[in-house]
Structures are given as C-alpha cells and as structure tokens.
C-alpha cells in the first residue's frame, strides 16, 4: 500500500447480517472486513463462491446497508449510491430502448447537472475511449457481447467516479473476448486514470488486472490474505505464461481451495 497516495476506499470493520424474512434466520455475510484502496490502484477481490464478494461491492456502492463498521469513499461515509462511485454490472444491463450514446449519457441525465449538448459531448468522448467510435447511434441489440460490455464500462466511467466498482463484468463473455477485454480494460482505466475495485471468479483474470489481489474467506467473509502483484505495468496476455505469474496463480488458488474445503464445498485435498 502506498501511503503517499490518498485513500479512495477505506472500509473498517465492515459487518453485514442479512435477515431472511421467511425463516427469520440471521445470516452473517461480512464479518469485520478491513480494506483500503489508494488512488490509481486496481484491486481485485476473489474468494469461494457465495462468500459475499458481491454483497461487499453493493455495500460500497450504497445499494445495501452494512450492519456495523464504516465505509468511506474519498473520505465521505457511504450511505446511499452517489456520483463518487459507479457500478459496472455483471450483465451489461444496457437499456435496450436507448442508443449507445443515450445509454452512456444516462447517469449524467439522472444527475441533471449538465445540459443535453454537454452530456452528449461527454458521452461521445467516453464512447471513443472504450473504442466504440462510430457506434454511438446503434442500439444495444446491434452490438456484440464484448461491445455491449464496453458500453457498460463507458456508462460508468462517464460519471468520472472516484472509485469504479466492477462486479464480474466479463463473466458473460466467451473465453477469447474475455481475454481481449482484460487487456482493453487495463488500457481504458489507465487512460481514464480511475481507481477500481474488481470482483471475479477467475484467478488469472484477477492477477492479470490487479495491483493487489484480496482473497476473501468463506462466509462470513473476512480478508484471508492480500497479495501484492509485482508484475510490471503495460501487461500483455503473454505474461500469463511466465513462471512468476503461474506461481502467483497457484498461490491464490491454494488459498481459495483451503476456504472451499473448510466449508465443505469441496472435500479436502488428499
């Protein structure tokens, strides 16, 4: 962690308990989580399925309330969604009745600060940024899965958030497109100079993208380990075959395996 850079996310002892309305059973999802993300960092959260990664991200966005602890984004306590954060959803969730330009400008329209012409101009800039020049007037159904996900990212970036939250944005893409989009995302985030918190199930995606990988324990989630990824910037897909990368991958996988075994999701390795 770089102390010289300001903290964009500062989560302290975050706990969250869900109450099932039908069974009236409490379910402890998050338990005393501490997580810091400095300006310009890309931090990825991995962990066994159902461990509460998405719940944590929703809490940072303010879509769900935490039970105790504190989440600060850019120094301000989070209690509801705000313009300092933007969320990229797993399914692109583009509004099918809006063109690419109208989808990207959506957040600005809701915010209501800019005039229509300015909104469109900003949207156009971010459509360029994600490499969709010439597609501004297309409807989502006319785009491929990868292009739709670019629009989804542009829709979040246009808000110029202090912190970008990405919830498995490439999960619905085919394997090849997914790899290319990883490279693209690194370029886009470097150009937009955005701090990002990224959730994924894919360990090699996490390592490839991140400055740090945070491994969540099984539910109730705490942080099991944080791994600094000391790979150089300007990464290309070839890096995934280098011994150091493979080492990191094995290490992260072992941590997740331990957690999965602990909860009986997987029988312990012999």
């Amino acid at each position: 962690m770089n102390a010289s850079r300001p903290l964009k996310l500062d989560a302290r002892r975050v706990a969250l308990t869900h109450y099932n309305e039908r069974t009236r059973q409490p379910l402890e999802v998050l338990c005393g989580l501490d997580l810091e993300v400095s300006e310009g960092e890309l931090v990825t959260i991995v962990g066994p399925s159902g461990c509460g990664k998405t719940t944590f991200l929703n809490a940072v966005d303010g879509l769900v309330r935490i039970t105790s602890g504190e989440i600060r984004v850019d120094g301000r306590v989070v209690d509801k969604p705000g313009p300092d954060r933007a969320f990229v959803f797993q399914h692109d969730c583009l509004f099918p009745w809006r063109t690419v330009r109208q989808n990207v400008a959506y957040g600005l329209e809701i915010q209501g600060k800019l005039a229509k012409a300015e909104r469109n101009e900003r949207a156009a800039g971010f459509i360029e940024l994600v490499g969709l020049h010439g597609f501004a007037e297309h409807y989502p159904h006319e785009l491929s899965g990868g292009m739709r996900q670019r629009v989804n990212i542009a829709r979040a970036l246009v808000m110029e958030p202090q912190l970008l939250l990405l919830d498995e944005p490439f999960a619905a893409l085919d394997a090849q497109t997914r790899e290319f989009m990883q490279v693209e995302l690194l370029k886009i985030l470097a150009r937009a100079k955005t701090t990002a918190l990224f959730i994924t199930h894919q360990i090699n995606e996490a390592i490839f993208l991140s400055d740090r990988v945070v491994v969540f324990s099984a539910r109730p989630a705490t942080i099991k380990e944080t791994i600094a990824i000391d790979l150089p910037p300007g990464r290309t897909l070839a890096i995934k075959h280098e011994p150091h990368f493979v080492e990191l991958e094995k290490h992260v996988w072992r941590l997740i395996e331990e957690e999965a075994a602990r909860t009986g999701m997987m029988t312990a390795a012999a």
Partner: protein
Amino acid sequence: MAMQHTTAGAPDTVQPSAKPLEVPVRSYWQRNENWLLGTISMSLFLIFWELVVAFGWVNPLFTSSPSRIVSAASDMFADGSIYEHIAVSAHEFAVGYGLAIVIGVPLGILMGWYSRVNAVLEPFVSALYATPRIALLPLILIWLGIGIASKIAIVFLGAVFPILVNTITGVRTVEADFIKVARSFGCSDRQLFLTVALPSSVPFLLAGLRLGLGHALVGIVVGEMYGATKGLGFLIATAGARFQTDQVMVGIILIASAGVAMTELLRLIERRFERWRPNLRG
C-alpha cells in the same frame, strides 16, 4: 437477403483480370412474391364467387356477388344514404376508443406503479374484465337510451380493459436489473418511473391498444344491431332483415376495411416506438 448475392467480391479490391461482377438481378416477381401471391389468390376467389352466381349455381339472395356488392355500394354512395351511417359509427368509435385511451393508459400507469391504487381498484377491474361487456348492453340502453351515448359507452367498455390491463402489466414487469442500474446512478422514484418503467412498458401498452381496437369494433356493430337508429351495425341489421344481402355485404366490408386500416396504422406506430427491438421488420 439480396446483400448476400451482391457482396461476392469486395468493392474496394482491384482485380484487373477478373470478369465483371455478376450481380444477380432479382425479378419483379421475386421481389414482390408474397404480395403478388396474396393478390392472385384473392382475385381468383372473387372470380369464382362471381361465376358461381352468374351460372346460377347458388342463389344471390344468400351470397350476393362481387358485382352486386359494387353496384349496391355505388348506389348507396350516390344517393348519399350511407354517409350518415358511416359518420355515426365513426363518431361512436372515435369518442369511445379515445376515452378508453385517455382513461385506460393513465389509470393503468397509476395502478401499475402504486400498489395501493391497485389494491383499491383491482377487484373492480378483474370483475369487469371477466364479464363479457356485451352482456351489459341492455343495462346501458336502459341508462343511456338508443342514441349515440349508449354505443360510445359500449365501445369504451370494450376497449378500456385490454388497454388498462396491458398497461398495468407493462409498468409492473420492469426488469429488476434495470432498476438496480438506475438506483446505482442515484435515480429518484420519479426518474425511475420516467426513464425505466415508462419506456419498458411501451410494447405492452401498444399491444393493449391493438387488442382494444378489436373490442371497440365489436362494440359498435353489436351495439348498433341491438338498439340504434343509425350506423353501420344498424345498416347491416336492417338490410339483413329485408334480405338485402348486397347491402349487408357493403356494411361488413366497410367495417372490416376500417379495422384493417387502423390495425395497420397502429403497427406503423409500433415500429416507430420499437426501432430498438431486434427482428421486428423480419
């Protein structure tokens, strides 16, 4: 489809020795096949109809014939007797269907958006939607008489429920994911309604308008047959009672044409609103 044939060679590649590009020209027949087939089958049917009457195989009292219908229609238009029937029916339809839209759409939006409004009105809507509205005709005639008002009421009652129920469904069935996206951008309730609920319910709303149209036309004809002094339904009923089959047919054709024309008009509006839908144009 034509594109597949014409892109055989990329236009910007230079091929000096290549033969000139063969662009298969699709004949007039190929381009208009569906339309032509429909016209031909219809024409054959009309000719057959004319002939069976001309040869005396069937009694024109029962079936009339295309030429008799045309001459009956030209007589009715020439002496002007048809115009007031058309005017009365059109008036009933316009006011009844218009009221159904003006009341059904906003009420449907309210019922879909506010669950309390829905809880209060839902029993009435369900009960009336399940009742064949034609069954209410005697009551409406008692209340409003045999003038134009009773027919407006029956057209309105026929059209308003499909419009209302479809609008409610449309506003209700907003995808949860879209709501989540909107909320994450800090959408207020009002903005959520305007930017998500309303546009996503448009297809439902238009389907309601189309269903309502059919009910409205049935309302006119049955209403006028049951108790009226003018209108196309009245014309059909009285001509039928006097065995003037030609005039009955003229009335039927006029109403059917109006129905087809208005359905087509709605389809055009639907295309305008649903440009974003894939494969609409097929």
